[in-house]
Symmetry: C2
Amino acid sequence: MPLYLIRYSEIGLKGRNRAYFEKRLVENIRTVLKDKRLKPKIKRLQGRLLLDVDKEIDLKNIFGISSYSPCIQTKAELKKINSESLSLVKKNPKTKTFRISARRLDKRFALSSLELNNKVGAFIVKKTKLKVSLEKPDLEIGVEIINDKAFIFCKTLAGFGGLPVGVEGKALCLVSDKNSVLAGLLLMKRGCSIITVEESKIKNLKELDELAKTFKCRALIVPDTLQSLKDYPIDVPVLRPLIAFSEQEIKQELEKYKSIL
Amino acid sequence: MPLYLIRYSEIGLKGRNRAYFEKRLVENIRTVLKDKRLKPKIKRLQGRLLLDVDKEIDLKNIFGISSYSPCIQTKAELKKINSESLSLVKKNPKTKTFRISARRLDKRFALSSLELNNKVGAFIVKKTKLKVSLEKPDLEIGVEIINDKAFIFCKTLAGFGGLPVGVEGKALCLVSDKNSVLAGLLLMKRGCSIITVEESKIKNLKELDELAKTFKCRALIVPDTLQSLKDYPIDVPVLRPLIAFSEQEIKQELEKYKSIL
């Protein structure tokens, strides 16, 4: 049963309703995993989510997630942390140098992050032949203390960050090519829900206004650049997220999201 | 009399009217230097501009310029290139290792870029005690062969790139804060000319439409993000270049252009 510690950055930064953002992210993760017929258990911790799921999964493409780590959970007690860290080291037999990177998110825990680094590090050195390397260790063991639990991991995978899809309301996205999908993605990353409409299925651009009203969309998203700048007969604001991008920047962004596109 | 070799990247990439873009860039450089009461001579070479001006200047902020180098000009003859390269080395007395980076933009020149590297490099080694380091030289001497001239330099300064202001027509920019200046800058970098209008001096947003007509603006530029999304009563397209930026990305962009802002 893999267990994942999930981090999100921007939600915490905003002076907005953090709980609402967190709930939306939880909901979005549930939706994605439900599509894969998985039944996850998700807990909201202090600035983190804890996901318990039947098998290994990829969470990279869920906007709002900045990073995530497959982890071991144990009590926030030095003895337990030592032994679980040691077990992680033993699972990585090629390791010669290591480092402990502890973070005490729960300040009630008796040891500071630095003290925890030193104590767990000393224990591993005593029990193995490994050396500590702060600069470029073969293995970095992360320890996060949250509430009365410790989460221990040696792998952190990057997500795209951004905001959870849905926190900023709905927008209609006019889709014709890759650039228009990119335009939609960039606004999903800012929290928009997207209703897509294929340009080829539209007889008259005036239909867009009707569609926006039907689906209660706050805006229309189009892939216009200055070279393809058009006006659209629609009452809601028209968003052109690619308007200040060069061709090279558009290529770079497409490359960044190729796992989604 | 400093001489500058100026490079521009995107102009060449476009399938559009290259000569028109180059002329606009020349015109923009003239305007900036005229404001400083300088009288530059500017020549269009093969994919480069050559600027001859009374004193040292900063060209970083002129959109369209990707980089520029203060340079020495000489005939495209190996003997001349050797002696001018040697004089540059002597002007940098702390140098211990060097490299020659030649580019033959004019294919009529007898030596290939590689041959030129080797010959000039060998000459410098013979005349000095310096060593060649291809990896991390103290001094890199650039040689560009264009038409029947060689341009020799040891410093390349970065510009912002983009397109020359003015090649994409005029836009009205509603200015209220730093973000709105950034919004305008991003579109100037895509080639727009900007007419600014201070929001505080506008009594009613309907005045914008009149201003756009008066100044023949193709678009209105505003700093809206999803959190500050507004609709504007104007007939031309509304451009919101910051619409897909996070707060952090806006900060980064502001930092990038702090020499202008």
